[in-house]
Subunit: 222 residues, 2 copies
């Protein structure tokens, strides 16, 4: 596994980069969605492709090979811009943003459009697994105060989850020594909705993460 | 759940649409990847965003709301262009393409780049779950000869899966009545690699799918 990398950036510099590339990502997310839905004809598609290639060439002029990684600065901040679920520069990531309750429950509400489809009109079962895995990992890490990795994950599919507004929540059910059990659900975001998928997972605090030189703010290694 | 929809298209017409929009999707996939990796400055990002918006407006001129759905024609062909894992018009989908062995084992080799990252340099654990869920569903459906839905899915994470070339395989382990058990693995695509994630899942043939009016070629409802 690649290591975490220290970056000598102020929090203001991190935020400026997030604003710049986050805006770009929003535009790409819209293109990704439209590419699934459009009925544009060959001439229009040809023009769109020429524009996309010109944009790609601009971005490619200085784009080192390799993934984004996870970075941290000297001010307690860490960022994982490429992450599939929460990455601010990943146009597939909805992105998920977490809210924490005082009791340790993590919640997120998100809108899932055409890019997340499995059965017709429904969220792909594997997308529910992807989102829950991430939410549960963050929950196990207790809001990034300890490093965890996924041991096992079990999902029970109770009913279809329609595309659109969904909400999910996760909480630690049990913990002992380096093992943390987390339970979670995802469902439609409307009053009275029953869980579409119920999950439980076993998360582990790796031995190396108990060393004092572990960088701060890393959290879940999903 | 939305229903499947019949389309009065010849196979040639389906293939022409796949060539047209599949090419567009390839360009979007490249932009998505570069958006994660680029170090372009504010001026270059601004120019790229203007181009992306112009492309989006072209595609948006005729883009009905709602997901792509699953369609079939009168010639035994079905397509799910928006699907998160295999959709030909979904720029997040790697896309996965399956190969079937005579013994019913389904295999797929795929390259996972920066958009699939979780831990630094590694595939997101939830992405492994997403890909395996889909592969296992297709396996349960016996190459689209019966309709299945996911009941439960259990994943055991054995070791990190580096980004890059990976391969996965799935096979039916047991079946009785309407219940099908599938086992699957994903690992690095190199000789001697051990599984990074091992999965088993229970898939169900829904009662409605045993009716004679079920459209052909639907397969897994992942």
């Amino acid at each position: 596994m690649s290591s975490f990398s220290f970056e000598d950036l102020t929090n203001d510099e991190v935020e400026a980069a997030e604003a710049l590339y986050g805006g770009l990502t929003d535009d790409v997310r819209r293109v990704l969605d439209l590419t699934i839905r459009t009925r544009a004809d060959a001439e229009q598609v040809g023009r769109a492709r020429a524009l996309l290639r010109e944009a790609a060439d601009l971005l490619a002029a200085d784009a080192p090979e390799g993934p984004a990684g996870i970075h941290y600065n000297a001010h307690g901040r860490s960022w994982n811009w490429g992450n599939t679920v929460v990455g601010l520069r990943n146009a597939f990531a909805p992105p998920v943003r977490l809210e924490w309750s005082d009791d340790g429950t993590a919640r997120s509400a998100v809108h899932l459009g055409a890019a997340y489809e499995g059965p017709p009109g429904s969220v792909h079962g594997g997308v529910s697994a992807l989102l829950l895995d991430h939410l549960m990992g963050e929950t196990a890490s207790a809001a990034h105060t300890r490093v965890t990795v996924t041991g096992t994950l079990t999902l029970r599919y109770a009913r279809p989850l329609p595309l659109g507004a969904v909400r999910m929540e996760a909480a630690v059910a049990d913990e002992s020594d380096r093992k943390i059990t987390v339970r979670a659900t995802i469902r439609e975001d409307r009053p009275g909705a029953e869980p579409a998928v119920e999950a439980h997972g076993l998360f582990i605090i790796p031995r190396w993460a108990q060393q004092p030189e572990t960088p701060p703010g890393i959290g879940s290694l999903d």
